[in-house]
């Protein structure tokens, strides 16, 4: 039986299998069709119906279940929903167990949430360091500008204020007002 206790492990293995079977296009399609439109349709329905309050309901519940020791912090206002991951439960599982079958596991988050939020009318600012730390800001589509300044939304919980957060952008995968896993900033 495939279990849920090590889900992140075989989920990551599945990305590699799909890429061998059908290339990058199949992996992208899987994230959108299987995860966004099927597995996570409860998230999709909540966020399309309620916007930022729906994001709070979905991520507030699911992150508490996945990361009961609170390796994350949620901030929200009327115009922005933000998550700071200081210890991503998903990436952390892979790092702790030495699992690596796909070139960039972290892409899966933008792979399914990007299209989901596009359908709900939101865009994403995001950076991740591949070490279990990242941040996300979701704002209504059409919001102008670049990344908000560190601390301006999450205060001291902003992951970019960590001493070990890379100062060199080249060490990060970065997105600005994006919805597509391949829209990384150069």
């Amino acid at each position: 039986m495939i279990g849920c206790y090590d889900f992140c492990g075989h989920y990551e293995w599945t990305f590699g299998w799909l890429e061998r079977a059908g290339g990058h296009a199949l992996v992208r399609d899987y994230w959108n069709e299987a995860i966004n439109h099927d597995s996570q349709r409860h998230a999709r329905d909540l966020i399309r119906g309620e916007g930022i309050p729906g994001m709070l309901k979905y991520w507030g519940h699911t992150l508490l279940e996945e990361s009961p020791d609170l390796g994350f912090h949620i901030s929200h206002r009327e115009d922005v929903f933000r998550i700071d991951f200081h210890d991503c439960p998903s990436r952390g599982f892979l790092l702790r167990n030495g699992i690596h079958h796909y070139r960039d596991y972290c892409d899966h988050c933008m792979g399914w949430t990007g299209p989901m939020l596009r359908e709900a009318g939101y865009v994403i600012d995001h950076e991740h360091n591949h070490r279990g730390q990242c941040w996300w800001e979701m704002r209504p589509a059409g919001t102008p500008g670049g990344h908000a300044a560190p601390g301006s939304v999450a205060g001291a919980k902003d992951v970019r204020l960590r001493a070990d957060w890379p100062r060199d952008p080249a060490q990060l995968d970065r997105y600005q007002k994006a919805n597509d896993p391949d829209e990384k900033l150069a």
């Binding site: 039986m1 206790y5 889900f7 075989h10 995860i35 699911t62 020791d69 699992i99």
Partner: protein, 169 residues
């Protein structure tokens, strides 16, 4: 893998997994079956059995049936909602799944479950058993079933496809 530390190859900081991940497992099966077909789905499970689960297979090959029993006890202890009994006999280990945690959660969540969901346990389990020098059979399904992992000397009858139940809508 360090069997003295944990019978599970990969461990988490929390004692049980998040049951909502069963939604993703079910959706992944549906996606591969729909996009790539049944043969590809079987290949996916067999390759996962030989690849991703290689540390478990190696532990089973080394530790024999006691290692198989330890693994399944630890595995189902980490699956939320599982009601399972593992029994050891000289030539086999039987896993009596009284309440399948996956089907229970998928049904509670109102999800459409792929008809062949239960078959994955056999395709995957048989591939893993073969790597460990064992044989695997599955009887039942649709929420409760019996998995048997046995030595070749047990001379189990061949797997009867009809013995694996389809998931009822």
């Amino acid at each position: 893998m360090n069997p003295a530390k944990s019978p599970l190859p990969y461990t988490d900081t929390k004692p049980q997994g998040s049951a909502d991940f069963y939604y993703a497992i079910n959706a992944t099966f549906r996606y591969i079956l729909t996009k790539l077909g049944h043969e590809a789905w079987s290949a996916y499970l067999q390759e996962m059995g030989r690849g991703y689960f290689a540390p478990v297979n190696a532990a089973w090959r080394t530790g024999g049936l006691p290692a198989v029993a330890r693994y399944w006890r630890a595995f189902f202890a980490a699956e939320p909602g599982a009601v399972v009994e593992v029994t050891e006999q000289p030539d086999r280990v039987e896993i009596h799944v009284r309440e399948c945690p996956a089907l229970k959660h998928l049904r509670a969540g109102g999800r459409e479950i792929v008809r062949d969901y239960c078959r994955h346990c056999h395709v995957l389990g048989a591939a893993r058993a073969a790597e460990a020098g064992l044989e695997m059979r599955l009887d039942g399904g649709n929420g409760s079933c019996r998995h048997t992992y046995a030595l070749p000397s047990a001379a189990l009858p061949p797997q009867e496809p009809a013995a694996i139940a389809e998931v009822a809508p």
